[in-house]
Assembly symmetry: C2
Amino acid sequence: MARIVMKFGGTSVGDIERIQRAALRVKAESDAGHEIAVVVSAMSGETNRLVDLTRAAAPMHDAREYDTVVAAGEQVTIGLMSMALQDLGVNARSWLGWQLPIHTTDVHSAARITSIETGEVIRRFGEGQVAVVAGFQGMAPNGRITTLGRGGSDTSAVALAAALKADRCDIYTDVDGVYTTDPRIVPAARKLDKITYEEMLELASLGAKVLQTRSVELAMNHGVRVHVRSSFSDEPGTLVVDEEEIVEQQMVNGVTYAPNEAKITLRNVADKPGVSAGIFGPLADANINVDMIVQNVSEDGATTDLTFTVPRDSLDRTRKVLDGVRETLQWSDMTADPNVVKVSIVGVGMRSHVGVAKTMFQALAEKGINIQVITTSEIKVSVLIADEYTELAVRALHTAFELDAA
Amino acid sequence: MARIVMKFGGTSVGDIERIQRAALRVKAESDAGHEIAVVVSAMSGETNRLVDLTRAAAPMHDAREYDTVVAAGEQVTIGLMSMALQDLGVNARSWLGWQLPIHTTDVHSAARITSIETGEVIRRFGEGQVAVVAGFQGMAPNGRITTLGRGGSDTSAVALAAALKADRCDIYTDVDGVYTTDPRIVPAARKLDKITYEEMLELASLGAKVLQTRSVELAMNHGVRVHVRSSFSDEPGTLVVDEEEIVEQQMVNGVTYAPNEAKITLRNVADKPGVSAGIFGPLADANINVDMIVQNVSEDGATTDLTFTVPRDSLDRTRKVLDGVRETLQWSDMTADPNVVKVSIVGVGMRSHVGVAKTMFQALAEKGINIQVITTSEIKVSVLIADEYTELAVRALHTAFELDAA
């Protein structure tokens, strides 16, 4: 007997037939004697519909009212899922965020879960009851409905699994697992049987939209075993687990790319203390997410060149902010290049292998791809290149690190 | 300064533009210095959409889960209405049934309000805040969401007005008041400035679908002054008030008709104690709503004829139930006539006027309309006639009781 949290995303509960199919999966686990909590998202399209209504109602709106509106989506799904389960003879009941409750901070639309009361759900496990819990939502200390931000149902599921000390958190989604890279670019991409939390975090934050980043952090912090798998097949998916569970580490486990980057270069910036703060402080204040930063070594000891990347859709705002501080910082020239992509290799194995970066740079050089910026972390190497080389670079790296399927 | 509950039905909040127009009405009352609680329904069509989803999910479903699903409709509207009000500079916040809370019985899908906690809302009136409250929903003693049944938002509004000791409960709807009869049949129908609770009850239960019957009962019991008016015009509507407030009573204030009736006649039923119970008991058990009942005087002292009406769509079930008890009650013959209509005249004034029934019967006789069954109450006389005479009868009675507009 295991205790399992099963999470179904929007496409997995996109219509009544899909809800009924998901209910069959739940029934199978319940019939096998497991204790089951189901976490569901809103039916696909529903959250967007509700968000559009709020935008139409008022251009600037109260996040508390926004949360009240959009939380209605998951409310509908838990009721329908409970009905579908009952129709299959499964003892089930729905739980809204405020009913458990799932306590959160009061940062509406981006709330964080602070605690989940599970006593009643666990008591009902003893009576064979399946708990159907609304994802994405919780309750602020003052009793108002909060939401966790887009994709928050993954976080709800992992947090619930942690609170329930569940043996596993199964994330049912519309992909059948985590791949070594985007299969649309590299047909030889392989599904990974296991991946570490750290790798998953790098992949998630780089745009492999399988799991919300926060949910992976949470799983890592609480040691929740996450199983990413398809709602539409019975194949096993990818287990996201602790490093220790993976005996033989690959050097590199994934190649990923982040499009929609833009590169800014400032030439002849005064090379003195406080300059970086003078540039990146105002950008942070404007909520612009600066990613890669490279500062060239100063040649004359007086000025330096500074290159960094921002999201492409923040480019205009970035320019405006920089224009506002130019008078004090006095660079000679600002250039912007929106046609860049960040390509990364990820793997906890690179900690214990040397030469990973060298292999990467060689593989790119062999294809004649110029590297504009490099950044590294313990388990990742990223390069910024012209975006026209995206597919070529990803394929070359996937082959170079022996990730291609046999 | 007055305290006012303003209720907007589904068509009055049917899209964002209508919500914004309703918000303008609320702003006007709030700007005039009044304390305002707004009660809203789900956007028109939304409740039906949700009900259809529950039907598709499971043919027989848990009423608790049904309530969880359909209550989402009002949840969306309160958020949008609050946003629209804030956008107009009005201090407003939304309240779900469980947030106030609105306590109800646990009879899901047909719950009754037991009490409403208003302390916080009244405190916030003092800060100039408008309360936007979800109609139709409440919370059972065990903390689950309940709903009050279709049209329940009227009841929510009146109950809230009673709890708040409001000066008035304004029901904004898609008609501009209560008419002496159906204007589609009688173009000379007049809008009534005032009507008593008792009259409104008779009109509502007879199918003048302006106000839910339970809301009128509640208003009568708590002395809530209800103002039925149009969301789409600034004309005053109809005040539903205590009899004492109406100085000069009309003898008859309205002519109404209930289509979709069916008449059943049982001939030569044994005329002995327990026979009525033997017939109407099983019908009640089968949830069939028997309305008019007439028992002929027994000629031979041994058998009698019994005539009664049921809703037309219950006719088949009625026959089945009666077939089941025929063996014990042994009537000679059962006939059913689905082509009948109940036409009624309503007016508290008839209590103090004689000859009302006589005027009614004469008016119908003059048009050659045969009366099949008659029932009377203190403020109502109803006759059952062939439904092909519906319009003719309604027009004749409207004229006979001098209700035609000048």
